[in-house]
């Protein structure tokens, strides 16, 4: 099972390494979102901790949708998803492999976006790198677990890009709230580490619930779609 997850993941990583399409477009979009928000929230060259956290997580959420759409498009081209489904691999392995790929692409983008936040907004994000990493990793897993499922299922819909945002954003709002609140508690003048750790636990619970549900739902959904 783990080997098959690794194979699906490896396929996505190799395709991305050759094209560099998903990460580069996500990164470009995330930086543009940050710049646009900075016009609204910067005051005298600095932004408050709440604003930096909000900008960071909004950029992650918006650019993530772009990555999800493109990752699903790749499976639609040449009906690649059907070919994957025809293989004897367990469906759960396909889902986990695709989701792991999305998580890695998003984390690569987030690394650069977080570094840029430090430079552009003077945010002390590196001071509590362990807590920030926990928030970003768990938030990204929750986002990708739901987003990966929905983007694959919307493969044939005409207005799939619009519908992905429609179905994804209301569900992942707890991730964005937890991520931004946790990050902003790290950026306070006296960082509130207890609050950040609470939000990390909240995200862990969210991930467990939604990864379990997505794993269960993937099989019946993919059967209907296929």
């Amino acid at each position: 099972m783990l080997r098959l997850v690794g194979l699906v993941l490896w396929k996505d990583l190799v395709v991305e390494w050759r094209t560099r399409e998903i990460v580069s477009t996500m990164l470009f979009f995330a930086v543009i979102v940050m710049l646009i928000f900075s016009f609204a929230f910067l005051s005298e060259g600095r932004a408050s901790g709440d604003a930096v956290a909000g900008i960071l997580w909004t950029a992650i959420a918006f650019s993530g949708t772009l990555g999800l759409s493109r990752a699903a498009d790749r499976e639609r081209d040449g009906d690649a998803l059907r070919a994957l489904l025809l293989s004897p691999a367990p469906r759960a392995a396909l889902y986990l492999g695709k989701t792991a790929g999305i998580v890695i692409f998003m984390l690569a983008t987030e690394l650069v976006v977080a570094a840029l936040s430090t430079v552009l907004f003077g945010a002390a994000l590196s001071a509590h790198a362990a807590e920030l990493s926990g928030l970003l990793l768990l938030g990204t897993i929750g986002y990708a677990a739901i987003g990966g499922l929905f983007s694959l299922m919307l493969g044939r819909a005409r207005s799939r890009d619009v519908l992905l945002a429609v179905v994804l954003y209301p569900i992942i709002v707890p991730v964005i709230i937890a991520g931004s609140k946790g990050t902003s508690s790290l950026l306070e003048s006296i960082p509130d580490l207890a609050a950040a750790r609470y939000w990390i636990k909240f995200l862990a619970v969210f991930d467990i619930v939604f990864v379990t549900l997505a794993l269960w739902a993937f099989e019946p959904l993919i059967v209907e779609r296929g």
Binding site: L154, R158, V173, F202, L213, A217, E224
Partner: protein, 223 residues
């Protein structure tokens, strides 16, 4: 099903006649006065909204497991009513907020998360309309995930500060207030059941028409 529809509709109509009278006769709450009477319809619509959200979730799971058209019809009817009762809850809550807090809307956690639940079920209907092949399953997954989001509302309320009155209000109501409240709950429940049955009857008739159309086409009766 038709008999049940007539019965629930009659009981809902009776409740809608009686409950305003009972609410007017109920004692006024000391701090909020007349505005507090919104509570008698606001809370029952919220309760029925949660009921229909969970019914939609359960029907969606049944659809994903058994592919039953009945479960699908129940899920879509429940989702439509979740949007209707959610909108009623948000509207009555907004009127309360205007009088109690001086604003139509506040970013109170429960208000925000309730609005998000409403968005989930509007999303459900959009997916059903424009989702293309496989949209029934996708909408079912969305309903399932939406239901899993609901407990987060309560978790978040207990963790964050909130302006919203706490949920301990209902069990502690004095009897002259409890009677009109539970009559209003019963009324909303009957109204909900009547609307649900009407929607299910409509879905059943639509399926029959589709089957007749296919049968006519196969028999060469279609022009």
């Amino acid at each position: 099903m038709k008999k049940m529809f007539v019965l629930t509709l009659s009981l809902a109509a009776l409740g809608l006649l009686v409950s305003p009278w009972l609410i007017l006769r109920a004692p006024q709450e000391s701090t909020m006065g007349l505005v507090q009477k919104i509570f008698y319809y606001h809370v029952p619509t919220a309760m029925v909204d949660f009921l229909t959200i969970y019914l939609c979730g359960i029907a969606s799971v049944a659809f994903l497991v058994k592919r039953s058209p009945r479960a699908d019809a129940l899920a879509v009817a429940s989702a439509e009513l979740a949007v209707v009762f959610g909108a009623c809850t948000l509207w009555t809550g907004s009127m309360w907020a205007r009088k109690a807090w001086g604003v139509w809307w506040t970013w109170d956690v429960r208000l925000t998360t309730f609005a998000l639940c409403e968005m989930v079920f509007i999303g459900y209907l959009l997916v059903r309309s424009y989702g293309g092949p496989g949209s029934r399953g996708l909408a079912a997954a969305l309903a399932l995930f939406g239901c899993a989001d609901v407990p987060l509302i309560y978790v978040s309320v207990s963790i964050w500060r909130t302006m919203h009155p706490q949920t301990t209000v209902v069990p502690n109501l004095v009897k002259p207030m409890a009677v009109p409240f539970w009559v209003a709950v019963f009324t909303m429940l009957m109204l909900y059941l009547a609307l649900l049955l009407a929607r299910l009857l409509h879905e059943r008739n639509r399926t029959r028409v589709d089957e007749l159309y296919v049968a006519a086409a196969e028999a060469g009766l279609e022009e």
